[in-house]
């Protein structure tokens, strides 16, 4: 009883001044961001210049200058992982937008009552756990018992394909999963953008005799450009950081001939399988440079020009 009484007494004197209150209320986010956002970033930057046998403890680090970066740039597997990443980002990213835009237009114009349900159905994969998705697709893609092979055999008479075991098949399989997963997210983005395009533009165009195709080409697409910039930027960043799907589908290894080893998977393996945290950190910063460069290029391609229309 006594400690409790004294604690109550101590707390009675605590006053939060209006001057500090805002900082106190904002602090939970700032503290969490500092611990889980800023600190790991700085630590990995520090690690990128160190050689470190991790199990020996933090004091076992040894400064190696740019050695890790030099190693990463000469590492065949790093380049191979970048190629895999680029392949997957393109093969899963381009179709996402090429399909999401017409689909969003169709939903916008053709659906009224069932629109929300349909959009929800497309959005569902985005909020489903990656592990559940990977388990489901690994059984769909199973060589002997999978639905994909059974369908291919029934329709086209194709012999069973080893989707997840052969390097030439695993990339398309993963691209399909990523496409399926993020299509709905992009549809929602474009649907929101479509709703901001003023209806009078279409009415005026119709009065001038423009058909649906010309309306789509000259009103819808330019109207969607800001959202395309946003969506493509997210796809570029997400595509370059692709990790979960290939990681789970290949048991954390990257697949036969490392065909599904994206850069993010390789970084993880460098650190936790091959015990090279310094090299992994250097590679992650090189990947960051690639992400920044490609985001800048996306910006150049899509962002509205100043003074232009």
């Amino acid at each position: 009883m006594r400690p409790r009484a004294s604690l109550t007494a101590a707390l009675r004197n605590v006053r939060l001044s209006p001057r500090w209150a805002p900082y106190v209320f904002v602090s939970p986010f700032l503290v969490l961001f500092a611990v889980f956002g800023v600190f790991p970033l700085l630590f990995s930057l520090w690690l990128a210049f160190q050689s470190w046998e991790p199990t020996s403890g933090l004091d076992a680090m040894e400064f190696v200058g740019l050695g890790n970066f030099a190693f990463a740039l000469q590492d065949e597997w790093f380049w191979k992982s970048l190629q895999n990443t680029a392949w997957l980002a393109l093969a899963s990213g381009l179709p996402q937008h090429a399909v999401a835009i017409p689909l969003a237009v169709l939903l916008h114009q053709g659906f009224t009552r069932l629109r929300d349900v349909t959009v929800g159905a497309y959005f569902l994969p985005y909020i489903t756990s990656t592990v559940a998705i990977a388990i489901m697709f690994s059984s769909l893609f199973s060589t002997d018992f999978g639905l994909v092979n059974a369908t291919l055999r029934a329709l086209l008479g194709i012999e069973p394909v080893d989707w997840l075991g052969r390097p030439e098949h695993i990339k398309p399989a993963i691209a399909v999963i990523v496409f399926w997963r993020y299509l709905g997210f992009n549809v929602v983005l474009y649907l929101a953008a479509l709703q901001t395009i003023p209806r009078d533009l279409y009415e005026a165009a119709a009065l001038d005799g423009a058909g649906r195709w010309r309306q789509f080409w000259h009103i819808t697409l330019p109207g969607l450009k800001p959202m395309m910039f946003f969506g493509v930027t997210l796809s570029v960043i997400g595509g370059l950081q692709l990790f979960e799907e290939p990681f789970i589908l290949t048991g954390g290894k990257g697949g036969a001939d490392q065909a599904a080893m994206t850069s993010a998977v390789y970084l993880y393996r460098m650190a936790f399988d091959f015990n090279d945290f310094g090299g992994a950190s250097a590679m992650s910063w090189l990947l960051f440079v690639v992400v920044v460069a490609l985001t800048w290029l996306t910006h150049r391609a899509f962002a509205p020009r100043r003074g232009g229309r």
């Binding site: 470190w52 065949e76 290894k253 945290f277």
Partner: protein, 422 residues
């Protein structure tokens, strides 16, 4: 009202703080933390009654994670010196990696003197826990002597006896051709497994599996060329089922009798009998690996982190001694979890002579006991995991894409040489 509301809130806050402080005071009783992975956690749990008799005032908390998660967590704990357990279970391949660093307590020093225990353990298991600086960093608890398991019924249909299966690896592959022709069964689940074991035979003194002591790469050598040749012969003859171990197709192969042999640790018999293919009981037999190859397939060790709480290290050491040096404990683990004991003084027990029903009454433990004493410790290199991956990939290139063996080994050598000194 206002004042009362504030007072109430403060009381609630104070009560909460007091409650938070409570477990800290209650935890004054010593608790040892043991980090382990499945089955090893069961073995430690089974030892707790014996531990409580010795130390009624010391509780043992077992933190169990899945195999890979456990070792990742141990890597992180050692690297940051945070949340270190008092005792950690380590699988043999990870022990090799961890022993290269300085994160594990050197048990050969005062007051442990683990070096004096060398003669009580299976030689290779103990030597594997000695690092390059000559310090003992862990004690072995169980081992996995390599063995050849074969389906006696399938071999009989092909007119092959054990004597024709084991003289050499070439004879083993030839037998596979006959078994395939007579029964349709595959010799082995995957040609990679054959490569994995053939590269482990004929390792010279001072050599590791992929690197020697000076980190020179050893893969472009007759040892690897032979392993690749044999694996290619298996694949070309369609003698392997091309399934990976522990997959559904692999387990199905054993259940349906489409796999005639398996190269593995002795513990595999327990796995087969319990869940992989219990219905094939009585059809399997065990033999020494072809060409009298003696290798270890895994094993478990207990180690203490160097930076663990010094106040509990004596107790932690006592627990490790109980788990590794107590005949009763070792036997209990052998009986319940097929954990083949590393402790030599258990090896003279009549239990070793008992027939194994899954192997048609064969007294196979004697065979494995003999194998265990002939296995040699392997030099571990920091890049072993990477080398495993590179060599496996190059063999895939040979098997699936017809790459020339010489070129494949040269490519592997180039990749490994770049990393050897990192």
């Amino acid at each position: 009202m206002k004042a009362t509301g504030r007072t109430t809130r403060r009381r609630v806050l104070a009560a909460g703080l007091a409650a938070a402080a409570w477990p800290a005071r209650a935890g004054a009783r010593t608790t040892l933390q043991v980090a382990a992975f499945p089955l090893v956690d069961e073995i430690v749990r089974a030892a707790l009654p014996a531990w409580r008799q010795r130390h009624p005032d010391v509780a043992v908390q077992i933190v169990s994670r899945q195999y890979a998660d456990h070792h990742t967590a141990m890597t992180t704990a050692l690297s940051t010196s945070a949340h270190l357990p008092d005792v950690m279970a380590l699988e043999a391949s990870y022990l090799g990696r961890f022993s290269l660093g300085a994160g594990l307590e050197e048990l050969s020093r005062e007051p442990y003197h683990a070096d004096r225990l060398r003669d009580r353990f299976v030689r290779y298991a103990f030597d594997q826990a000695v690092n390059r600086r000559g310090a003992v960093v862990a004690l072995p608890t169980d081992i996995g002597p390599g063995t050849l398991l074969y389906r006696s019924d399938l071999l009989a249909r092909a007119g092959i006896g054990e004597a024709e299966l084991t003289p050499s690896w070439e004879a083993y592959v030839e037998a596979g051709v006959r078994v395939k022709a007579a029964t349709g069964a595959y010799l082995i689940a995957n040609a990679q497994a054959l490569k994995d074991i053939v590269i482990r035979s004929g390792i010279g003194p001072g050599e590791g599996l992929y690197f020697d002591r000076q980190s020179r790469v050893l893969v472009n050598s007759p040892r690897f060329a032979r392993a690749f040749e044999l694996a290619r012969r298996v694949r070309r003859g369609r003698l392997d089922a091309r399934v990976s171990a522990w997959s559904n197709e692999w387990a199905e192969g054993f259940k349906r009798g489409t796999l005639a042999t398996e190269l593995s640790g002795a513990w595999m018999v327990g796995q087969m009998a319990n869940w992989v293919a219990p219905q094939t009981r009585g059809l399997w037999r065990a033999a020494q690996l072809p060409e009298r190859t003696f290798v270890g397939y895994g094993g478990t060790y207990y180690a203490m982190p160097r930076r663990a709480d010094p106040a509990r290290k004596a107790l932690a050491w006592d627990l490790i001694r109980l788990l590794t040096l107590d005949r009763e404990r070792q036997f209990a683990a052998f009986r319940s979890q097929d954990a083949f004991p590393a402790l030599l003084e258990t090896h003279d027990d009549p239990f070793f002579d008992e027939p194994l029903p899954f192997l048609g009454g064969q007294r196979a433990r004697v065979l494995w006991r003999d194998a265990a004493r002939r296995i040699g410790a392997l030099e571990v290199h920091k890049q072993n995991n990477f080398a495993d991956e590179v060599v496996g990939t190059e063999l895939d290139n040979v098997l699936d894409r017809g790459k020339d063996i010489g070129r494949a080994l040269a490519d592997a050598e180039r990749l490994l040489a770049r990393r050897a000194h990192r």
